[in-house]
Symmetry: C2
Subunit: 235 residues, 2 copies
């Protein structure tokens, strides 16, 4: 029980939003990985990417099931996030195989940050539902290793790929700002998660939370830097 | 034990070929489903297609694992089938959502026919490995139901979609003829499977088997007609 103050309260709107956001993110990542597979240099890499995609699908199913358990319409919960996530993907089309790998690793990492942020701050049942995803957070490590090996072999790649990674996270933050402004309950939940406050079932949101969300983004950016290093890149 | 005459014989070359063919077919289907998802009219349909794709991935893993158990290099086993399967996909690009659904259902059905054909005629371990796939053969039924509903709503669709399905199977048969000619051991195994002969570890293949393969194709075409009917189409 991570949320003893309100264990039996109905899930606040922010939780439905967060599950919807993550569910759509996993679903679209799943499909996006296929575009990348066309660029994969060999069958081993194709199989590896298919495995990452299959993991995204399992997460999608898990989040979808949790939404149903909470009595929410899963597709309705995902709908508000279709536009911002599609916009992120459309604005960051990888031009080659290595850019694709960096994008998968960065995107996966940001999702992982969200999972960790909420795992201890949403209601207990939801925390349980996302914990499965968190425990698989190492799944993208082979992808980081591939990028690192390519950069070690050809150090000139580090500069352009670092810039690419910065653009990925920059575009993600600008979409996230729009989402946070439009979905105050979600912003409140994420902000409480990041600042370690116990979550309540209350309304949340508002201008104070937007400032807290900026702190969340700062935390994400820090984690992003660690991920760049894992790929042999720099912030 | 479906093959008591040679339970401990090494897997004949035809079995490695067949596992390689099916493994690559599952992997490429997995990735192809993503193109389709872009055409899906709603999130429910997207999730459904993702589920079919995830099943393809499980089959790929299963076949890949069986190849490793047999001491084969899975990627080398898949390699001879990359060109004909890619050619089939390239020659049958769906132009809309319903054509995509028909293609998934038809392709899935042909794969299922192969699974059933071999499940009782390859070595026992391989038969075991493919049985998992056979037992999931109902997974594409929601796709047939979607096509049927669309055709019931607009009967004018039946003609063009029936033609499309015929083209799909025609292109598959012409690729299969090329494969059968180039891989006599595989042709021999498939032919034995179709005619109910017990498989041996021998060389197989040759001209006689090519005739038997034609009978296999006739059987596949019959099964194809049943699938068309499931979709509300006609041969």
């Amino acid at each position: 029980m991570t949320n003893p103050s309100a264990p039996s309260a109905p899930a606040p709107g922010g939780v439905i939003d967060l599950l919807g956001l993550l569910a759509y993110a996993e679903l679209v990542s799943f499909f996006r990985l296929a575009d990348v597979a066309g660029l994969a240099p060999d069958l081993v890499a194709k199989g590896e990417l298919a495995g990452v995609a299959a993991t995204e699908y399992r997460h999608y199913r898990m989040l979808h099931a949790r939404l149903e358990e909470l009595g929410a319409d899963p597709e309705a919960a995902m709908e508000p996030f279709v536009e911002p996530l599609d916009a992120w993907h459309a604005g960051t089309e990888p031009q080659n195989w290595l850019e694709s790998l960096v994008k998968i690793y960065v995107g996966d990492g940001i999702a992982g940050d969200f999972y960790r942020t909420i795992a201890d701050h949403a209601d207990a049942g939801t925390a349980e539902a996302v914990r499965g995803a968190v425990s698989e957070s190492e799944r993208a490590e082979p992808i980081a290793a591939r990028v690192r090996a390519a950069v070690e072999e050809d150090p000139k790649l580090a500069g352009p790929l670092s810039l690419w990674a910065r653009r990925l996270v920059g575009e993600a933050l600008s979409q996230a700002q729009l989402v946070a402004a439009a979905r105050p309950e979600l912003a409140g939940l994420v902000a409480r998660g990041a600042t370690g406050e116990a979550s309540g079932g209350g309304e949340g949101g508002g201008r104070g939370d937007l400032a807290a969300v900026s702190r969340v983004f700062a935390g994400l950016t820090e984690a992003h830097t660690a991920r760049l290093e894992a790929m042999g890149l720099s912030g």
